[in-house]
Subunit: 140 residues, 3 copies
């Protein structure tokens, strides 16, 4: 049971995809098993994070910007990969430390997420992108 989800992005942001994926599992009559998600890009990420206070997402994006500042920042003059502008290489760096794939146990067709967990596609690039998430559900 394989599917691909597309997310349209427009600059650094967290896009929740929990609902879309839950609906797909329900429609496919998934029972017990594991859902595997993988983002098909190297400059955005998947993430399971808090779904309650939107400030968590703001703080997370700000922190990532400090962890891997744009290549035109003084502290980043050593960056060599600059093909697509100052947000190019930092996007790869963020994509290295945030998840590219997730494994989510599913019980009776429902993802075993905690109460405060949401699944997000996190965009690291400044320009608009269509991002694809590959999904596969396997019965246990």
């Amino acid at each position: 049971m394989i599917a691909t989800f597309t997310v349209r992005t427009n600059g650094p942001a967290c896009h929740e995809i929990t609902g879309k994926i839950a609906e797909w599992l329900a429609a496919e009559d998934a029972s017990d098993g594991v859902l595997t998600l993988m983002v098909r890009h190297t400059s955005c990420s998947l993430l399971i994070q808090e779904n309650a206070d939107p400030d968590v997402q703001v703080d997370l994006l700000n922190w990532l910007q400090r962890l891997a500042p744009p290549a035109d920042h003084l502290s980043m003059r050593w960056i060599t990969h600059r093909y697509e502008g100052p947000d190019d290489m930092p996007a790869h760096l963020k994509a290295a430390v945030l998840p590219v794939s997730l494994g989510i146990p599913v019980a009776s067709g429902r993802m075993m997420l905690g109460r405060w967990q949401g699944i997000y596609l996190v965009e690291h690039r400044a320009t608009p992108h269509d991002r694809e998430v590959a999904a596969c559900f396997q019965r246990a």
Copy 2:
């Protein structure tokens, strides 16, 4: 084959759960396949790390504290999410870069971990918590 493991924590620490999980796989007569683990929270993490020298865990926790200092630290004044105190948002940040889920190949009922690998639940919050780890074993 689905299970949930609970870990009681009391401040930032690494709690090894390798033995508990190995026993479960043995009791369930797991053969070849994959074990998926996912922590059901956004302020603690799963981690596979060295199980020999406990100093590795001390250094890791200290480094994480430097990577994402408490929100009352001068360098973190920009943090907005502060509902549950200065260790709240940094816990989410650490949870973003450490694994929330792990996929572990299993051969003849035994996890294919290396000699020095242990599985840990890493607590990022200061107060005591009961943490749940969802587990699913699937035959290959």
Copy 3:
């Protein structure tokens, strides 16, 4: 369907293993399902990253070196785990934030990687090592 891949390393570098794994899946006549990869060590990592410009790998390794400098660096005097030299503990730190395991959806025997995605073993240690990657393919 389980296998182990060995990679010989010689200092910090990214070793692409995409081709080797794709060949194995093809030889085993894999159909739809999920490939799970796990590195059996705590001082190297798996990573899905850009496979086009090799500068991305250079910049990534440099950034990791800044994120977790050698233990003889002034900023790292607090490190206690120093058994195997100044690159020992930083290797564990890098291994904590880069993936130890990956879940990759497979359709008709082909990994659903994006056009620019390659799978790498990332070595963090200075001395030569033989690194093992455990792999399991499961039909959906």
